[in-house]
């Protein structure tokens, strides 16, 4: 049975959009993770981050494959063949890696948000989506443990580490809001049984979980309302970092998009 066969046209479109934004988040973050490979502060982290990067890119591939069956574009066309204006990832994940504190905090808080998102997928009416979510969550458990360990190490690692970590929290938490940005077609996902609730409604739960983790580590929760939101990646507004990332990522593939590589 092809995926989404019971959906209305509107339902299929919304489903495709939702899969695409999750896939793009995972691909772009996985790409950023992979940039640490060979340059992490410890050899152990070169290995760990390479493994995390492979997981994220594999998750992206799983979502792209579902879209492939909905839209008829191959997963490589989806990953390598779109301009930045068609990318749906949150701008948080496209930002350059900066320092290790930013990397750790971004990944951990993103993983906390992703945990809520994939938990919601477990209650989807679409069996394929449920089984993908189960697989993803098995791997993400280790990412969460890894992130919690590093956040603790850095938050308790002396004045400089602490200053860098707090600075990263201030930057990242704001960007995390974009993950749950309300989207016009969210209600369609609920109506057609693909999700139990609108994803944007996960934001308060995320903020209270993130706040608890920060408090445990003696870190401050930044004043979110005081800061204006940045560009919204969900509707294709991105920073120049994403354009550069896509240019690099597609450098070889785009020389001949129909060739076998």
């Amino acid at each position: 049975m092809p995926i989404g066969h019971e959906l209305t046209g509107e339902g299929r479109a919304a489903f495709g959009e939702y899969l695409l934004l999750m896939a793009d988040d995972e691909l772009v973050l996985g790409h950023r993770d992979s940039e640490w490979c060979a340059f992490a502060p410890l050899i152990e982290e070169d290995v760990a981050f390479a493994s995390i990067a492979q997981d994220e890119i594999s998750h992206a591939a799983l979502f792209y494959e579902l879209i492939e069956s909905l839209r008829g574009l191959s997963r490589d066309q989806l990953a390598f063949g779109r301009p930045d204006t068609e990318m749906r990832n949150v701008t948080l994940v496209e930002q350059e890696n900066s320092d290790w504190a930013f990397t750790v905090v971004r990944h951990y808080l993103y993983d906390l948000a992703d945990d809520l998102r994939t938990e919601q997928l477990l209650h989807s009416g679409e069996p394929l989506l449920r089984s993908i979510a189960e697989r993803i969550r098995r791997e993400e458990r280790y990412h969460l443990e890894h992130g919690a360990m590093w956040l603790h190490r850095l938050a308790h690692g002396g004045a400089e580490a602490r200053r860098r970590t707090q600075h990263a929290v201030d930057r990242v938490l704001l960007g995390c809001r974009g993950i749950f940005h309300p989207l016009a077609w969210e209600q369609v996902l609920v109506k057609e049984g693909l999700l139990p609730d609108r994803p944007s409604r996960l934001l308060p739960t995320f903020l209270s979980r993130a706040g608890a983790v920060l408090l445990e580590n003696g870190l401050q929760m930044p004043q979110m309302a005081a800061v204006a939101a940045g560009p919204c990646g969900r509707v294709g507004h991105h920073g120049p970092e994403l354009g550069r990332l896509l240019e690099t990522m597609g450098e070889v593939w785009r020389t001949d998009p129909v060739a076998n590589w």
């Binding site: 502060p41 490589d76 070889v252 593939w253 590589w261």
Partner: protein
């Protein structure tokens, strides 16, 4: 007393026994094993860099994942081998930090082959197929080395290298069966890597600094030329079968011995690189130095008294 110990040690080796980290061994045996093992660890770490440049550019999700996985393996090998070196070098005060410091200061050896640039995607395939193929010959021959802890990790490393070979061969076969531009790119990479591949095994035996003792103590079991010939016998026919041109007009097989006779691969160039003069040696070391300096705060943070694991 020490004469007797040396005789007993050599008798163990001659009897096919293996030496463990805690066993008595002559200082010279320790030094020679350590030199071999540290050079291997450094080479795994530095060897990750040319391919690493292509992780962000790999064409297609599957290629991106497989290059990433390969580079991860190489760095994981370095990690395991440094641990073996640390155990062996402990009586001489050798630590991983010290080995890494010496590497980035340009004072330590790593394989000459990792001093070259990898300018195209085809280089990734040629490196993973042929450079890893060459490494597998060398490492396979070391599986019976007399230093047991090294032999044990080599078994695992060789198993993973065999997977890298498949990954490289798959990239090469895909390009060879591809468009004209893809085939040209592949030929270009082979032409670039052929001489470094001959250099890979080291100078001809008569110029090799390896002492007779290295073989008597079974630290190494095959000479440079034996390894080079094993490689050529396996890979020359495979490369030719792809319709690629090997850039050596003098290359031919001796029908009597089966050995491949090759033109002079410019051993002066080899010695120049060994002494630190490779095209990318300094760039790659500088990159390592820079990232190590930038991240010193992380290592300080986790070493501090308030950190909890």
């Amino acid at each position: 007393m020490s004469e007797e110990r040396l005789h007993a040690f050599e008798a163990r080796i001659a009897g096919g026994e293996l030496i463990e980290a805690g066993d008595w061994m002559p200082d010279e045996y320790r030094r020679q094993c350590l030199r071999l093992i540290v050079t291997h660890a450094n080479s795994e770490l530095m060897g990750a860099l040319p391919e690493r440049e292509w992780i962000p550019r790999a064409p297609g999700l599957q290629r991106k994942l497989s290059v990433l996985s390969k580079v991860q393996d190489e760095i994981g090998h370095a990690q395991m081998i440094y641990r073996v070196a640390e155990d062996l070098g402990r009586p001489m005060g050798v630590t991983r930090e010290l080995m890494l410091d010496e590497l980035i200061a340009g004072k330590a050896k790593f394989h000459n082959v990792f001093s070259y640039p990898a300018p195209t995607w085809a280089d990734v395939g040629v490196i993973a197929w042929l450079v890893d193929g060459a490494a597998l010959e060398t490492q396979g021959a070391l599986l019976k080395t007399s230093y047991a802890p090294y032999a044990r990790i080599l078994r695992r490393i060789c198993a993973e290298e065999a997977i890298h070979l498949k990954h490289g061969e798959d990239i090469v076969l895909t390009l060879a069966a591809g468009t004209r531009a893809q085939r040209d790119m592949l030929q270009g990479a082979l032409t670039r890597w052929w001489q470094p591949l001959l250099h890979f095994f080291g100078p001809p035996d008569e110029q090799s600094p390896n002492s007779e003792r290295t073989f008597r103590w079974r630290i190494r079991l095959m000479t440079n030329e034996q390894l080079r010939q094993a490689f050529l016998r396996k890979y020359v026919p495979k490369v030719k079968a792809l319709g690629l041109l090997i850039p050596d007009p003098e290359l031919r097989q001796d029908p009597a011995t089966g050995d491949w006779l090759y033109g002079d691969p410019d051993w002066n160039e080899f010695w120049r690189i060994v002494k630190g003069g490779g095209a990318k040696t300094e760039d790659r070391l500088r990159l390592r130095r820079m990232t190590r300096d930038e991240q010193s705060w992380v290592r300080e943070a986790i070493a501090g008294p308030t950190s909890a694991a």
